[in-house]
């Protein structure tokens, strides 16, 4: 397979000066930078009949991601509908118990001080 005389991805000339054929370039081992190459850049002399060197360029647009399976939760607080909560009664009892505990503790502390 002939070597390419076109510019390498890094912009340097090919090391083999005897090679003049400008066939299709092999796929470079180093990924090309993500930019399109025009035929003018590939053939700087601009002479007629020259064949543009086409290098494989990675796709600029990534394929669409699959739909996320996890719902992203926003930082902002989500209001809680306690009226629709089947545990509402239990939670109210628990809150009352905690409040009563707090009252007892405060009054006991006040008696001591």
């Amino acid at each position: 397979m002939p070597r390419s005389s076109g510019p390498r991805p890094g912009g340097t000339a090919a090391p083999d000066p005897e090679s003049t054929s400008a066939g299709p370039a092999p796929t470079p081992s180093v990924p090309a930078p993500p930019r399109a190459r025009s035929s003018r850049r590939a053939n700087p002399t601009g002479s007629a009949g020259s064949v543009a060197v086409v290098t494989s360029v990675p796709a600029l647009v990534a394929p669409p991601l699959p739909a996320p399976s996890v719902t992203v939760v926003d930082e902002a607080p989500v209001p809680i509908d306690r009226a629709a909560d089947p545990n509402r009664g239990l939670l109210d009892l628990l809150a009352n118990e905690l409040a009563a505990t707090g009252r007892r503790t405060r009054s006991r502390k006040a008696e001591l001080s």
Binding site: P77, P79, T105, A110
Partner: protein, 186 residues
């Protein structure tokens, strides 16, 4: 009232009378030494007066602000006890630059222990220990310290909506950890 207190010492006296028992109680539940609790309370109100005179306090935030200052003073005293710090210098100002600064209200072990000891049911006590630190903190401030919603927002630095959600989640977590159906009124 805060605006009046800026120019009127008597108005500040009214604020002082209103908040003194609650701020002192807040401190006394965290500091065992009575003299230290009184000193911290006095420091808190002195800073309150300074802030009012400087015009940096508003009426709706003074409650939360005072509890926040008291909490900072408690931590400051704890840090002062660990290192030799000259009088008149805040312990927080002497912390090494690379040192991890603790959130003042994380140091609520004494208040939490007091509240746990007062709970009558063992399963609730065990469940309370399984809550996260922020969940325990908001519960202690609400149920033990009896802070109002506005005061809680000021102390924790959150909006009313965030506070509501945080409280509700803490309550649900406690209920779940305690086994849910075993809850009954005390």
């Amino acid at each position: 009232m805060v605006a009046r207190a800026r120019a009127d010492a008597q108005a500040y006296g009214t604020l002082y009378d209103h908040y003194l028992p609650r701020v002192y109680g807040f401190v006394a539940r965290r500091v065992a030494d009575r003299a230290a609790a009184e000193e911290i309370t006095a420091t808190t109100f002195q800073r309150g007066l300074d802030a009012i005179q400087a015009g940096t306090l508003r009426s709706e935030t003074i409650g939360g602000w005072l509890f926040r200052v008291a909490a900072n003073a408690i931590v400051d005293r704890g840090q002062r006890g660990e290192r030799a710090i000259p009088e008149g210098v805040r312990a927080a100002d002497t912390v090494e630059p690379n040192a991890v600064r603790r959130d003042p209200l994380v140091d609520d072990e004494v208040a939490t222990a007091t509240f746990l000891a007062a709970l009558e049911r063992d399963e609730l006590r065990r469940a309370f220990r399984r809550l996260t630190e922020p969940q325990r903190r908001v519960m202690i401030l609400k149920y033990l310290d009896d802070l109002t919603e506005l005061e809680l927002c000021g102390v924790l630095g959150v909006s009313a909506a965030t506070l509501t959600v945080r409280l509700e989640r803490a309550l649900r977590a406690l209920n779940a950890a305690a086994g849910g159906a075993s809850i009954h009124a005390a």
